[in-house]
Symmetry: C2
C-alpha cells in the first residue's frame, strides 16, 4: 500500500507546513507585530492562505486522495492512514464547494464590514451597519446553498464548525438547557444572597499578574516547554505543532479575572493541542476536532476545574503571596465565591458561567432566523432586545451594548456562536464520565490537582486530534450522545452551593 | 506596457510574501519558539523555502521575466519597472544555475555539519570536524563551477554576497588595509597607554539594560513604531516589510557592551530596511543591496557614530541615570575610551574596531586557499595559527579559540566573511562623503544627533534597496569607487586620539 498514500502524505505535509506559516503570520500580527505593518501583513496572510487553498483544492490533490483511498481498498478503522484519507476526502469535497468567485466576494465584503462595524459600534449607530450586515447574511445564505444541506440551511453553516452535528440536535439540547437554566437563575435571584466580587477589582501589578498566570497555567497541566505565553488585546490560543502551542493573556491593572480565568481558558485550548498524538503531526488530523470540542477543553479547565472550591483552596495562597495587600485579608472561600458570582448582564464576554449559555442561545436563534429569512437585518435590534428581556430579564439601553457588541457578524460565521455553549455541555459531560471512570479525579480536584483528569483527557480526547467528528468522540469517550444533563447537574449543584439554595 | 509586467509583478508579490512568511518562521524560531518545536519548525522552514525556490525558478517565471523585459523594450534607467526586471533577470539566471541535486546535497551536508562542528568545538577536536569540512569545501568548489566565473573560482562565491564585486578588487583594498593597520597597531602597542575598560564588566540589571538599549536605538534613528526589539542568543536583525524591521539583543548580567554596541549594530541593519522606498514593497528590490552594504550600516551606527566621543558626551548621562552605582563615578570620556580599547585577541566577535579587519583578512585569505586547493582542510589549523601570529601577533592555544571558533564553515558560505570588513570600509566612505556634502553632520555628531546623517543615508543608500549593486551604489553616493582610504584615515585619526600617538 506504499506509493500513492506516501505521495499524498508528502503533499499533505507541505500544505500543512504552509498553513502553519500562515498561522504564525497571524499569531505574530496579534502579539508582536508593530501596527504600522498591518496592511502588508494582511497581504502576506492572504497570499499564504491562497496558496494553501489552491494547493489543496487542485485536481492533482483530488486524484491523489482518491488514488490513496482505492489503494487502502476500503480499509476502515481508526488507524492513521484510513483516518487521514477519510478526513481529506471530507475536507476536499467541502473545500471544492465554494467557487473562487464566492471566496473572493466573502473576503472582500468581510474586509469592508470590519471597519464599518467598528465605527458603528463606537457611534452606537446600527443603521450604518445594517446595509453591510444584509450583505453578510446574503453571503451566509448563498454559502449554505453552495454547501448544500438535508434539513435546513443552517445545518450547512454549523457543519463548518461542528462536523456532522445538526441544527436540530443543537436546538434540542439548547432548549433543554434553557428550560433548566431559567428556573435556576430565578431561584438564585429570589434567594437574594449577595456575592461580593469586589476583591477582583483592585489594583494588581501587571508583571505579578503574569507570574500568577504562568503559575496557574502550569498547575493545570499546560507545558511551557512546549508553549509560550504572550500578550494580546483579544486573547486566544494558537499552535504551530504539538510542541509549540501558545497562549495569550490580557492584563488589566485594576481587574484580575482576565489574568486568571482568561489564561486558564486559553491554557485549556493549548493543552488540547499539546496532547494530539505525535503520529498525526504535519497533517490536518493534528488539531482539535471541532470548535465545540476545543471550547470544551478551555471551559473544562477554566470553569469545571478553575472555578472549583478545591482549586482555590489549593492555589489561593499563591495569589495571596503575589498580592498580599490586595488579598491578604480574604479567604480561599471568598475568592471561590467571587469567581462564581451570577449576575445577568448585557455583554456576552463578561457573562458568568450560568447565564453565558443564554447569550449564546439568543444568538443561535437569531442566526437561524436571519438565514431562514424570518428576521431581516433591519429588525435585528428589536428582536435582540426582546430576546434579552425574555432570557435575561434586561434590555440593552443601546445597540452598542446589544446587537452591535460582537465582531462575529462581520463575516458569514453563522454556526460559530453555538459552539461556545456546546463547549460548556461537552465539558460537563467529559468531566462527569472521567470522574466516574477514575474517581480519584474528584479527590485530586479537592487538592487542586489535574493529573488523572489530564491523563484521561489525553487518552480519550486529545490524542485523537480530528480522527473522530465531535458526536462520535463524545460517544466513545463518555458512552453516550451529547446531553444537557451533565451540565445541568453540574450548574445546579454548584450554584445551589454558592447561593445556598 | 501594462499586461506582462503586471502579471510578473503579481507573481513577484506572491513569492515575496511567501518568502517573508519563511523569514518569520526563522525569526520566531530564534526569538520566541520553544526549543521542543525545533525539528518540526525546520521542516516548516524547508517547505516554505522550497516553495519559494520552485515558484521562482519555474519555466513560467522565466518566460514572464523575459516577456516583461521585451515589453519594456530595453528601457533602462533606475525607474521601478526596469530596475525590477533587471534584478529578476539576474536573480533568475543565478538561481537556475544550481540543480536540485546540488541544493539537496548542500542542505543535507550542512545539516549534519552543524552538530559535528558544535561537538568538535566543545571538545577542541579539529580531527572530528575535518572530514565534513572537506565535504563543505568540495561543495564550495562545486558551487563555484556551477555558477561559473571569469578569473578565479572565489569570484563565483563572493558574488552571492557582494554582487558584481571581484576577489581581486577586495584583495586590493584588504591588502591596503592590512598594510596600514599593522603599523598603526604596532604604534599603539609601543605607545603602551593603558585604556581601562573594566567599567563595562560590572553587574548590570538586565531589565535596565533593555531600557538603555531602547533609548540608544531610538536616539540613532531606529523607529520602534515600525519595529520590535526581542532577545536572541545570537543577535540579528530581520525584516518582514519596511514597516516591520526588527532587532534583537543579548543581555549579560556582568557585561554591558552587547546591550549597547550590539543593539546599535543591529539598529543600523534595521534602519537600512526601514528606509527602503515604499514603492519597492513586496519585491526583491525591497532590501539591502548586499551583505557588505548592510554591514556598512550596522558598523556606521555602531562604530562611527556609536563609538564616538560626541555620542557618549550626549548619551552617557542616560547610562549613569540607569546605572548610578556602576557608572556614577565615571566620565563620558572614560566611557568613550573604554569602548575604543584596542587589544589583539583570539576571537573575532570580541575584536575591537581596529583589529577586527585582520581577523577577516585571515579568513578571506584562507577561504581562497581552500577553494583553490592550495590549503587542505587537514592543514587548516596550522595555516590559521601562522596567520594569527603574522597578523595579530598571537597564536591560539587551542583550535577551539582558533580555527573552530566560527559557525560559518558548516555550510559553503565562502565569500561571506569578507563582507564584514567591506562593511567597515563602506561605512567610513559613506560617512566621509556625507559629512563633506553636509558639514552639519559633524556638528550633530558632537551633540549625539544623527538627523542629517540619517537623511543623507535615506536619500543616497537606503531608499534604493537592491536597485544598484554595491560598487555602483558606492560610486553614486560617494563619487568614487570603494577605497581603503576613508577607513584608514578614520581609524588613524581616532586611535591617534585614543592612544595619544
Amino acid at each position: 500500500m506504499a506509493s500513492l498514500f506516501d505521495s499524498l502524505l508528502e503533499k499533505v505535509h507541505e500544505i500543512h507546513d504552509l498553513s502553519k506559516a500562515g498561522a504564525l503570520l497571524s499569531w505574530d500580527r496579534e502579539v508582536i507585530m508593530p501596527r504600522a505593518a498591518e496592511e502588508i501583513r494582511i497581504r502576506q496572510m492572504t497570499t499564504v492562505q491562497r496558496f494553501v487553498h489552491e494547493l489543496f483544492v487542485s485536481e492533482e490533490m483530488g486524484e491523489l486522495i482518491e488514488g490513496a483511498a482505492a489503494e487502502l481498498d476500503g480499509a476502515g478503522g481508526d488507524g492513521f492512514a484510513p483516518s487521514l484519507v477519510r478526513l481529506l476526502q471530507y475536507d476536499y469535497e467541502r473545500a471544492r464547494k465554494l467557487p473562487p468567485d464566492y471566496v473572493r466576494r466573502e473576503a472582500e465584503t468581510s474586509g469592508r464590514a470590519h471597519g464599518i462595524w467598528r465605527d458603528a459600534r463606537a457611534a452606537d449607530d446600527f443603521a450604518s451597519f445594517q446595509p453591510i450586515l444584509e450583505q453578510i447574511v446574503a453571503l451566509g445564505q448563498e454559502k449554505a446553498e453552495l454547501y448544500g444541506y438535508e434539513d435546513e440551511p443552517y445545518d450547512a453553516l454549523l457543519e463548518g464548525y461542528e462536523r456532522a452535528t445538526t441544527t436540530a440536535e443543537v436546538r434540542a439540547v439548547f432548549d433543554a438547557v434553557k428550560a433548566e437554566t431559567l428556573p435556576l437563575l430565578q431561584a438564585i435571584q429570589e434567594r437574594g444572597r449577595e456575592v461580593d466580587d469586589s476583591l477582583l477589582y483592585q489594583q494588581y501589578d501587571v508583571e505579578r499578574q503574569k507570574e500568577v498566570a504562568r503559575y496557574l497555567a502550569a498547575a493545570l497541566g499546560y507545558d511551557f516547554e512546549r508553549g509560550y505565553m504572550g500578550t494580546a488585546v483579544h486573547p486566544f490560543a494558537s499552535s504551530f505543532s504539538r510542541n509549540d502551542a501558545r497562549i495569550t493573556g490580557r492584563w488589566y491593572p485594576d481587574f484580575l479575572s482576565p489574568a486568571i480565568l482568561g489564561v486558564m481558558h486559553e491554557s485549556g485550548h493549548a493543552i488540547y493541542e499539546q496532547g494530539t498524538h505525535p503520529d498525526l503531526q504535519r497533517t490536518p488530523l493534528a488539531r482539535g476536532t471541532s470548535a465545540g470540542i476545543h471550547e470544551s477543553q478551555s471551559r473544562l479547565f477554566e470553569n469545571v476545574v478553575g472555578r472549583s472550591r478545591g482549586w482555590w483552596r489549593a492555589h489561593f495562597p499563591k495569589l495571596q503571596e503575589a498580592f498580599p495587600a490586595q488579598l491578604g485579608d480574604y479567604t480561599a472561600e471568598d475568592f471561590y465565591l467571587a469567581v462564581n458570582k451570577v449576575q445577568p448582564s448585557l455583554i456576552r464576554v463578561e457573562a458568568d458561567e450560568l447565564t453565558y449559555n443564554l447569550h449564546i442561545i439568543l444568538r443561535f436563534e437569531l442566526e437561524q432566523a436571519l438565514i431562514n429569512g424570518e428576521v431581516a437585518a433591519a429588525d435585528l435590534p428589536e428582536a435582540w432586545n426582546e430576546k434579552m428581556q425574555a432570557l435575561l430579564g434586561i434590555t440593552p439601553p443601546t445597540n452598542r451594548e446589544g446587537v452591535l457588541q460582537d465582531i462575529h457578524w462581520t463575516w458569514p460565521s453563522f454556526g460559530y456562536f453555538p459552539t461556545y455553549a456546546l463547549g460548556n455541555l461537552y465539558a460537563a459531560q467529559f468531566y462527569a464520565a472521567a470522574s466516574e471512570q477514575e474517581p480519584q479525579i474528584l479527590e485530586e480536584k479537592e487538592a487542586g490537582k489535574t493529573d488523572t483528569l489530564l491523563a484521561w483527557l489525553r487518552e480519550n480526547v486529545h490524542q485523537h486530534g480530528r480522527k473522530f467528528p465531535p458526536a462520535e468522540l463524545v460517544q466513545r469517550a463518555t458512552g453516550r450522545a451529547l446531553s444537557h444533563e451533565p451540565f445541568v447537574a453540574y450548574v445546579t449543584k454548584k450554584f445551589s452551593d454558592v447561593y445556598a439554595l
